[in-house]
């Protein structure tokens, strides 16, 4: 069996991702579009929240993936830091805009959902505040990659930023456990028998979670391929300038 480190070779990554990417895109498209259509058109209103419950199919998957994206960036950045594999640094760079967009979508849909249900667009509670700070970390991370000219230095500096930002990703996920306050309800488990989420809502939610998960993977693969090409382009242009 091939070692995972083989994929640190850009050529190996490009050939493998070329095969994997169409399947990932297909699963992402079917699950995301199917889950959203299922949730929007074919689920009933909640007896307390009315039709606003349909926002769950966007809000929860994007919020989950926003945090997971940062943790994926952390792992890739640590691989860069320890083993100096360029592909892992480029994968972290490629994931950042995806995570930032997912965070923005989660913040936006959460505000629109919160206004009719909680009576406010925003509350400075631990979970929302740490999630907003995570979004700012995403913007800072992207800006740092753009601002630092040397890519290896940029990868080193963004790794440090990623490690620091992980604190807020973890706080955001476990804020209710840490402080037991805020507008969000306690974490719920799907399909545990005592769950307060009816299967009518849970199945399309699981479909959307799967879809957004695959969408993230597809976008990261696609964008990492772009970053590898961009790195080669810069190397060739640098060679031309020297010759």
């Amino acid at each position: 069996m091939a070692s995972i480190w083989e994929y640190a070779n850009p050529r190996k990554f490009m050939t493998t991702s070329e095969v994997v990417l169409p399947w990932t895109v297909g699963i992402a498209a079917i699950a995301t579009i199917g889950g959203l259509i299922w949730g929007f058109f074919f689920t009933p209103d909640d007896f307390r929240q009315g039709a606003t419950v349909k926002i769950i199919y966007l809000h929860v998957p994007t919020a989950v993936m926003a945090i997971n994206a940062w943790l994926m960036m952390l792992v890739a950045s640590l691989i860069w830091l320890i083993r100096r594999h360029h592909v892992s640094a480029l994968a972290a760079k490629a994931a950042a805009p995806v995570g930032a967009f997912f965070t923005a979508i989660a913040l936006f849909t959460g505000a629109v959902w919160g206004q009719p249900i909680w009576g406010t667009w925003w509350e400075w509670d631990p979970r929302l505040t740490s999630f907003l700070i995570l979004f700012l970390f995403y913007l800072g991370y992207i800006a740092m990659w753009e601002a630092v000219e040397n890519p290896d230095t940029a990868a080193d500096l963004t790794t440090i930023l990623c490690i620091v930002g992980s604190v807020f990703a973890i706080i955001s996920r476990y804020a209710l456990d840490f402080w037991n306050q805020g507008l969000h309800q306690d974490r719920f488990a799907l399909f545990d028998g005592e769950s307060d989420v009816s299967p009518v809502f849970a199945w399309p939610l699981v479909t959307c979670l799967t879809g957004f998960g695959f969408l993230f993977v597809a976008l990261v693969l696609y964008r990492t391929r772009t970053e590898i090409r961009a790195r080669r382009l810069h190397a060739l242009l640098a060679q031309e300038r020297l010759s």
Partner: protein, 50 residues
């Protein structure tokens, strides 16, 4: 179109905004990929001619 009752504006706003942002993300990713690939091909062809 399902009947969204008194929450029509909120639900449509959430879906419209979220899908719009997703579209922007996809469009930006595809645009940057194509631009990079085009420029790389140009440089590689130029070097091949030398």
């Amino acid at each position: 179109m399902p009947d969204l009752g008194p929450y029509t504006f909120e639900v449509l706003l959430a879906y419209g905004g979220a899908l719009g942002m997703l579209f922007v993300l996809l469009a930006l990713s595809i645009w940057r990929s194509r631009r990079t690939q085009r420029r790389l091909t140009e440089v590689e062809e130029r070097r091949g001619r030398l």
